[in-house]
Amino acid sequence: MTISDSLRDDLLASIPNLRAFAVSLCGNSERADDLVQETLMKAWAKFDSFEEGTNLRAWLFTILRNEFYSQVRKKGREVEDADGAYAARLASQPAQEGHMNLRDFRIALAQLPDDQREALILVGASGFSYEEAAEICQCAVGTIKSRVSRARARLSEILALEDGESFGADPVSATVLSRSLA
């Protein structure tokens, strides 16, 4: 299979995003890179089914996600970093000056159910529309919307409960959060 230079460049440019999404799925960057490698090989093998000019990034994300869940099905939860283990490892890392909030956020993110975390990442970080995220996850747009909204609600709950006053970089958001639970 040969591909055009522009497609190759686009593929290369998608790698950082694919890695970030893979890390969010696996919670482990080594495994995430294996997943990205599988994805690139799969994508290469079936580039003839990709319509040039359509959304390459969404196409690649779909392949990566399918690959991840098919590995989970085959090998069981060991493929995924068990939710608790990942959160515990994060929690045991020493807090770096100024990164305390981000570390807490990672821990909270790791505690979300997989489907909610994935929807939130796709829409809130990867920059996909609800429609694109629904296509990638092969579910209805409304399902994505409700997962994203539940994920946000759950995050604000976890963060406010565990780190109430110090959540957020500024006092306003901390106040907003503690008020939301009152």
Partner: protein, 88 residues
């Protein structure tokens, strides 16, 4: 700069939510005026909390994005291209 990006993507999301809310209304056949975006009677979070979550989410994600692409992927693409060349 990262913060500006987060704000932008929040705005993008908010736009989508509004559009979707509009569609939902249309779908149920209701012709009434749309609820104010800040009404929040369906349990939506305060926009400021959403914004804060969006900001942290992007910061976590961008941590990985900003890493250089590992050599293994460049090598992989080389290999794939080489093997494609041989076949032709």
């Amino acid at each position: 700069m990262e913060y500006a990006y987060a704000l932008r993507s929040e705005r993008f999301m908010a736009d989508h939510e509004e559009k979707d809310a509009g569609r939902r209304k249309a779908g149920t056949g209701g012709g009434g005026s749309r609820r104010a975006a800040t009404g929040g009677d369906d349990g939506e979070l305060d926009p400021r909390i959403q914004c804060e979550i969006g900001r942290q989410l992007r910061a976590v994600y961008d941590d990985v994005i900003s890493e250089p692409v590992p050599d293994r992927f460049l090598e992989l693409l080389h290999q794939l291209e080489k093997s494609a060349g041989k076949k032709c």
